[in-house]
């Protein structure tokens, strides 16, 4: 899963260079108690390279209309003005209250200094926070978790709210990828059945010898992964769905279809309860689950969730259409999440990113191609919101990257560093970002 050698490489480099000289002290120094109450960070990744200029539009720029003849937003035509240069897409209207409350900070011309226009490299390198480095195998959030781990650390420090972890959460620190649509009761029974195969401390040998130490050779990490699955998934389902209901008489005899129908009915009933209007999309459900775990006080620090489908080469849609409806779903999900968290949102940071922005000019198919600089968003307590961050030099060709894309004037790693510091008081040790010393940004 992870490349131990690479991990040691960066953590050793970090230790050697850090003011606190040994790994032990590095751990001790960073594993500080959170300052005021538990803080958390929710990281949302828009996969495919979201068109930053169609999320935030420089509607007062002289060249805007010319480069965006159809994907064009204007006051009264799809745009919510933010300041004298920028507006946001009307689909983000649910986030307007957070903007007004100065809890929403867009950062434009943010991204990676690396020139790649490959989705896959750009995503990997952003999630490893190591542009151009093909040896790094640990995600940046996982590195934070590893360095700051304590002996009695919660199993719920981090969750990937989807079937497979985003790369940012992959690595040495074990993190649960929450399986979606797992049958609640069946799932519980399944975990019980396989506990002996994968779980700890199963005591099967006669004479009570522990099976530990007699584990099968587990070089692929299958057994470890199974153990983690059993340990954390049980607790997760309890938090999110409540304790297992005792099976009703005759329940076993119901047909699978009937059981499914009843379960759906139950879910719908539960979903109808909260006053917060999460969208009924997958993203909405996932944000609502993150909120539940956060509010349960299980020590959740980091949650990651992906949102796919932003590679709008064709027919992105101007005021309405494919991309706007995705944007709206995103905004509704975040807004409902913030509403449900209430005061807890003050110690929570939501970070939204995408691997790159897209070409400044439309491509003539109602879409845009892979570009360079993009946008990031920070929401939550303590952000310097209500203002657009990031230097922007205009859309004239001479100010664009390679004459065609937004330049990168804010390195995404500096945003990561600021978010880690704000959320966890975490000072990135040297070489936490290989070869990059983060600049201090005034984002919080």
């Amino acid at each position: 899963m992870l490349n131990r050698r690479d991990f040691i490489k960066w953590s050793a480099a970090a230790a050697a260079a850090a003011p606190f000289a040994t790994p032990r002290r590095l751990l001790a120094a960073t594993a500080q108690e959170p300052a005021a109450g538990a803080s958390a960070m929710v990281v949302i990744y828009l996969r495919g390279g979201a068109d930053a200029l169609h999320v935030f539009a420089p509607f007062k720029d002289a060249d805007y209309a010319a480069v965006r003849p159809t994907l064009n937003l204007a006051e009264g035509a799809g745009l919510i003005p933010l300041d004298s240069m920028w507006g946001m897409h009307q689909a983000l209207a649910p986030l307007k209250p957070l903007w007004d409350a100065k809890a929403f900070a867009p950062i434009i011309c943010a991204g990676s200094p690396h020139s790649t226009r490959s989705h896959f490299d750009a995503q990997d390198w952003m999630e490893f926070a190591a542009p151009g480095d093909r040896t790094m195998r640990d995600g940046w959030l996982n590195r934070y978790l590893t360095v700051s781990a304590k002996a009695d650390t919660s199993e719920f420090r981090a969750l990937g709210m989807q079937d497979l972890l985003p790369r940012s959460l992959r690595g040495r620190h074990p993190v649960l990828a929450v399986p979606s649509n797992l049958d609640r009761n069946q799932g519980e029974k399944t975990l019980d059945k396989f506990e002996d195969f994968y779980g700890d401390g199963a005591d099967l040998m006669e004479g009570g010898d522990s099976m530990q130490g007699q584990r099968d050779d587990d070089e692929t990490g299958v057994v470890d992964s199974g153990r983690m699955t059993i340990d954390t998934l049980r607790r997760f389902t309890e938090i999110v769905y409540g304790p297992v209901a005792a099976p009703e008489a005759g329940d076993e005899r119901l047909s699978p279809r009937e059981r499914r129908r009843r379960r759906l009915e139950e879910e719908r009933a539960t979903a109808a309860k909260p006053a917060n209007a999460y969208p009924s999309s997958q993203f909405g459900r996932r944000m609502s689950m993150i909120a539940k775990v956060l509010l349960a006080g299980e020590g959740l620090e980091v949650a990651g969730v992906d949102y796919g489908g932003w590679d709008d080469h064709t027919n992105a849609g101007s005021a309405e259409g494919r991309m706007p409806s995705r944007l709206n779903d995103l905004a509704l999900g975040i807004a409902a999440f913030a509403a449900e968290l209430g005061p807890v949102m003050d110690t929570t940071t939501v970070l939204v990113m995408s691997e790159f922005g897209r070409t400044v000019r439309e491509n003539g198919n109602g879409g845009t191609d892979h570009g360079h600089g993009g946008a990031m968003m920070l929401l939550g307590g303590g952000v310097k919101g209500g203002q657009v961050h990031g230097r922007f030099d205009g859309l004239a060709s001479k100010n664009l990257y390679q004459g065609r894309d937004l330049p990168v004037t804010t390195d995404f790693r500096d945003v990561f560093a600021a978010a880690l510091e704000r959320s966890f008081g975490f000072e990135c040790p040297k070489e936490f970002f290989p070869g990059h010393k983060p600049s201090r940004l005034k984002l919080f």
């Binding site: 896959f120 396989f194 699955t229 491509n363 003539g364």
Partner: protein
């Protein structure tokens, strides 16, 4: 009876605690071969391979058109759209509504819903046929290689844009036709297939319109709308039309050279220009066939990789074809294909020596797939113990091998399709042009095993609709022997690569618990319990 038991006892699968250099036994070799080149052994297959020998088995598999399992042929016959061309599928989807002036928008809502539903059908049929083949075909190696190429030259139903009428033909004419053929030909076939042209947008890529063309557009718009503003708008929109780099980039990055390997952004643009005009006749009444449109093409010689590719003087796609042939023959492509193939068939991090060797075979044979497969199987690296039972199965490999392990009788694969959707790997639904990954790093996150366990229990319990364990499977278990013998027997059949100590201990305790609760052991009761646990055991997750 006693002697039979003794024979069984000596043949019990035991965790291999020998050193890493010990060569694989004959039985282990058969297991390994079927694991890596056959989606896992079905009952009886290990013995067959042992009798034939690995070389003869591979010869048989690579020989053209051997007999095919009649159960598979019968299953595939039910699908209406499988053998159809894109035009045929279009006809099939819209047949009830096609007439003069047919227009989707003019249909009633109900009719539109019916069309939409029918549009999904070819995709369902295709995915189901892929699963049927993977589980039942006698052509094991062909199926495995189809899976490999399907992901290497990925197209996906998630694209939308009418791709659903094109992918069935892609599977047949690109993947199946060339899976055991020649990579260069497969690449050319994929490049001009409507499914690929659509999926990666090359069908839209064109040279920007000339001044004359813009003037004409303006005139026409003014005439038809009578509005100067509208005409200006139309010109503005038309002026934006131009190159779409999507396919050119992925052709280099994912299909041939590998990312960042000997090309830059200028090369991507030049390649995209060379491929302008490669499109297809789209629309509900069109032929849906490849078309070269000279009016969309950026005319002129192209310089790429220090070479000059001259313009096709007959106004055809010759320039693009020459470039694709050049890419296919390049040493970067040889190395990239060799890396991916050895990663898929041998190890997540394949031995460099083997990668180099296979790249050489690629270059010597112009990308001959059987030659590369043979070279891998004939290498010492393939048979090293460190690779035996060491590769984490992808969800697809897990599901197919589980069905095969129990000799599953399949009447309907929709629930297998559902299982793969739940495990995030349904065929032809990978939105990313990378195709599905094949390494443990991509699939083994804490949490993923929960769904495999659930599937394992349901499958063994006969609760996966359309898939049943045949009575012949249980007949191979000596029913009059003690329950412990059933347990050993099933372990040997489902985990032919060997079971670890812990797994055996867990099974023994399940068996003894069962015996304590029941006076008479019933194979039909205990058997499925044990089989479900075996399919979910750590050993079954690896191949």
């Amino acid at each position: 009876m006693l002697s039979a038991l003794l024979a069984l006892a000596t043949a019990l699968p035991v965790a291999q605690e020998m050193n890493q250099d010990a060569p694989l036994s004959e039985r282990e070799r058969a297991v390994h071969l079927l694991n890596r080149l056959g989606f896992g052994p079905a009952p009886g297959e290990i013995e067959r391979v042992m009798t034939m020998g690995a070389t003869a088995w591979l010869d048989e598999q690579l020989a053209p058109a051997p007999a095919q399992d009649p159960r598979l042929l019968a299953a595939l016959e039910k699908f209406e759209t499988l053998g159809m061309s894109p035009a045929g599928v279009t006809q099939w989807v819209y047949q009830a509504y096609i007439g003069k002036g047919f227009n989707y928008d003019s249909l009633s809502q109900e009719q539109q819903r019916a069309v939409r539903d029918r549009r999904r059908e070819p995709g369902r049929e295709l995915v189901q046929s892929v699963l049927f083949r993977a589980a039942l075909s006698d052509r094991r190696v062909e199926e495995v290689m189809c899976d490999f190429w399907r992901n290497h030259l990925n197209v996906s139903f998630t694209k939308g844009d009418s791709i659903e009428v094109q992918v069935n033909d892609y599977e047949r004419m690109v993947v199946q036709r060339h899976a055991l053929g020649n990579f260069s030909e497969m690449l050319q076939a994929s490049a001009r297939h409507p499914a690929m042209l659509n999926y990666l947008d090359n069908s839209l890529s064109r040279r920007p319109p000339s001044k004359q063309e813009l003037a004409e557009i303006e005139r026409n718009a003014k005439r038809s709308t009578g509005s100067r503003e509208r005409a200006a708008e139309a010109v503005e929109i038309a002026a934006q039309r131009g190159l779409n780099e999507n396919y050119a980039r992925e052709l280099l990055e994912l299909h041939t050279f590998g990312v960042d390997n000997g090309y830059d952004q200028d090369d991507v643009i030049t390649l995209a220009e060379a491929l302008t005009g490669w499109t297809y006749e789209g629309g509900n009444r069109a032929s849906q066939e490849f078309a070269f449109r000279p009016d969309m093409h950026v005319v002129g010689d192209k310089r790429l990789f220090g070479r000059r590719f001259i313009e096709d003087d007959e106004g055809g796609p010759g320039q693009g074809e020459a470039i694709i042939a050049y890419l296919a023959g390049h040493k970067h492509t040889a190395r990239f294909v060799a890396l991916k193939l050895t990663r898929y068939l041998v190890a997540d991090v394949p031995p460099q020596k083997l990668v180099d060797e296979i790249a050489k075979v690629y270059q010597k044979t112009d990308g001959d797939v059987p030659a590369m497969v043979r070279a891998i199987v004939n290498s010492d690296e393939f048979w090293k113990r460190e690779h035996f039972q060491a590769k984490f199965k992808t969800p697809n490999e897990f599901v197919i091998s589980a069905v095969r392990a129990i000799g599953g009788e399949i009447s309907d694969v929709r629930s297998l399709q559902g299982a793969l959707i739940a495990m995030n790997q349904p065929p032809y639904n990978c939105d990313d042009p990378t195709g599905w990954y094949d390494t443990a790093e991509s699939w083994l996150d804490p949490g993923v095993l929960a769904k495999r366990w659930q599937f394992a229990l349901q499958l063994a319990d006969g609760k996966v609709d359309g898939v049943s364990i045949p009575t012949t499977f249980w007949q191979c278990v000596p029913e009059d022997a003690p329950a412990e013998t059933w347990q050993h027997h099933l372990t040997r059949v489902i985990l032919p690569g060997g079971a670890g100590e812990r797994t055996r201990a867990v099974l023994a305790s399940v068996t003894s618990d069962y015996l304590q609760k029941h006076k008479v052991a019933d194979l039909r009761e205990l058997g499925p319990q044990l089989a479900g646990l075996l399919l979910g055991a750590p050993e079954f997750q690896k191949q």
